[in-house]
Symmetry: C2
Subunit: 416 residues, 2 copies
């Protein structure tokens, strides 16, 4: 049996252990939900206060220039680019993930070779993809007179589905429930051969594992700022477009900040000749300030070390579940194989909801996902090996003492 | 000649003078740009810090329920509703003004009676409308295969243009340059008779003058959170849909928070049966916190008193311009008549840009608008009569001393 002391020893040897000091985390909480809402970076509060009090309060409207608020989408985009293997001028921060999915879906479906090909009327996505991705595709399709067929296939059928009937595919790299990771290179290769385009949703991968957009020949991607990127609740999202496609694509969400010269106030929309064209309305300087601090928590952290620790944490969790909780009927639905495992694990159990409520009452915070999953996220910047031990030990106690049976069945839920 | 002392006396008699204490404003700045970025409310910094440190930092993901982050769009929508003469359940806070315009434009153009009527293929807007409104209409129209004709008419031609060919009209109540106010009741009546729908952009009116959406039989509106509503740079925007239309309209930006049951994670989009259907992705709890403080600055302020002071401030500014600056060639392009004047004044001058730079160097902050306008906004919650006097006096000095000739022609601009 693995002891708590052995886990503390793993923390002592951890080359990333220093990174936890970059966050403000209560010692009485084991937080395994950074894949839903990243923890608060220690620097955020002071920086947000500075932006509010000094930049907004004192310098007022002048801050758009003096403090370069206007270029925050590009500046933060460049920081994210470094985390996802893209060029700095290929990523921009804007709006929400949902909105950015709409921008790219609509842009691809307006490409001349898609519009003109009557046989290319399929939108492919994965059955069980995060709902907002599917909803946005449905909403867009309805607006276009249901000209497209939204085809949902299982994970292992995506590659086969990428054929000449496909206008666009919308694929989430990491499954928000199982944590299964798609092979981006393989799918991109197949899409390219079929003359179609994949939009990658990186919400559950960026900042958690190495993403290599350039190397994998990815064309388009979106992602979320508030999970592993630690940007705060509802932080701005981002989008990526490979250089060669940037001026071929334009979004129908043609807001003024996407204009080539927004301050000319021209009556005709003329999209910027770079990623700026994917901007829309005015961005929140305060939300951007928080996101910037989130991104800074990755400074000088080698992604390979992050990945190694992530896998070590989930390996340990799984092992401890086998050692301590084998009797309670949990079934891990996440991949055993490292190559296709992201940074969270999910366990099915008939009483998953009540059990998670009981865990949270004991300050071990993971989350419940429909229909019967307990999900535990490992965020290598701040999750410790001893946290993993404490979490599984608490789960064992909760199960042994039947604490979960007393848990009220609350109907409210938390944002993923 | 009106003296500075007389202006101080006006401040002494001002029933709203106490409201200035609700803001954090440097005494060395005369801020006449609250119509572009509202000043910082005194309460914002502490509330934002609380949301960051306590709600996010300590309570983490649990705050979506414990601190009701999830219902901030509705809660703040209800506060805005009170400022624009709407019912609390008719307004919701979400995304940016540009995005919200897209939602409503697309929703109206999907109404069965619009879709089916081949003669109803015109989108009406005003020539010189704020660019983002026009761009969004252009972007949407392009996505729809340029099925519509975007017809731009002068302000006094809008009423006549609202005929049976119009699918939707997008009209900004207050012109961002001249400050001219449209008669909403009259235009709504005409639109209704023509079987069409007006989307009102309230960005330069809400919080500056009484807006009576219900009373004027307005159906649809959007607006901005960072101007007169003091929500901070790039604050979330809002939209309004009259009760009877809410379930008839659906937005193609069908993000998960617009779903009838977002936490069921169903694969099929089913829009909520109320304003929630106009939500899209996850909102920023931090930006919402700042907006809430902005809205609270209107607590117990009668809109009639606000309007009265607004007009008194702009009357005084105009009068002082006549008294002090008549020799310098400024031409006021704003309406003389109170009934059609909003809360800012614009003056044309061939050297407007340089003059505004010189004023800003003297800490009198207004803004420049293309092609030749100096724009001065009066925000009755914090603008004093003595500020107006100081602003015009500074302008006189700048002109007398030819200070503006030394102003560098900077190319950067600020966000409206």
């Amino acid at each position: 049996m693995t002891t708590r002391e052995a886990c503390i020893e793993l923390d002592n040897q951890d080359v990333l252990s220093h990174a936890r000091a970059r966050f403000s985390l209560s010692e009485d909480v084991v937080y395994l939900d950074g894949n839903s809402l990243g923890a608060l970076p220690r620097a955020t509060s002071a920086h947000v206060a500075h932006v509010v009090e000094q930049q907004w309060g004192r310098d007022l409207i002048r801050s758009w220039n003096q403090h370069d608020w206007i270029n925050l989408p590009q500046k933060l985009g460049a920081k994210i680019a470094a985390l996802i293997g893209a060029h700095a001028d290929e990523v921009i921060v804007a709006d929400s993930t949902s909105i950015n999915i709409f921008k790219l879906l609509a842009a691809v479906l307006q490409l001349p070779h898609v519009v003109s090909d009557e046989n290319r009327r399929v939108i492919v996505s994965e059955r069980g993809n995060f709902p907002t991705d599917l909803y946005i595709a449905q909403g867009l399709n309805e607006l276009l007179g249901n000209k497209y067929q939204l085809k949902l296939v299982d994970a292992d059928q995506i590659e086969a589905a990428l054929d000449h009937t496909v206008g666009v595919a919308l694929i989430t790299q990491v499954d928000y429930r199982t944590g299964h990771v798609h092979n981006m290179s393989a799918l991109n290769k197949r899409a390219s051969a079929a003359g179609t385009h994949i939009i990658w949703d990186l919400s559950h991968s960026a900042g958690a594992l190495p993403v290599a957009l350039t190397e994998s020949a990815s064309e388009l991607a979106v992602g979320c700022g508030y999970k592993y990127l630690n940007g705060g609740p509802g932080a701005p999202a981002y989008l990526y477009v490979t250089r060669s496609l940037q001026t071929q694509l334009s979004t129908p969400l043609a807001g003024w900040l996407g204009h080539a010269a927004p301050f000319n106030f021209a009556a005709e929309y003329q999209p910027a000749a770079n990623m700026n064209r994917f901007l829309c309305g005015t961005h929140s300087a305060i939300s951007m300030a928080a996101l910037e601090c989130g991104l800074n928590t990755f400074d000088n952290i080698p992604m390979a070390a992050l990945r190694q620790k992530s896998l070590a944490l989930s390996d340990l969790f799984w092992q401890l579940m086998d050692e301590h909780c084998a009797a309670f009927g949990f079934i891990c639905v996440s991949p055993r194989e490292h190559a296709v495992r992201a940074s969270h694990l999910s366990f099915a159990h008939p009483h998953a909801y009540a059990i998670m409520q009981a865990l949270i009452a004991r300050h071990v915070i993971g989350d419940f996902r429909q229909p019967d999953l307990l999900r535990f996220g490992f965020t290598p910047l701040y999750t410790r090996f001893v946290d993993v031990w404490d979490a599984v030990n608490t789960l064992r106690e909760v199960m042994n003492k039947d604490e979960w049976k007393a848990t009220q069945f609350q109907t409210r839920n938390a944002v993923t």
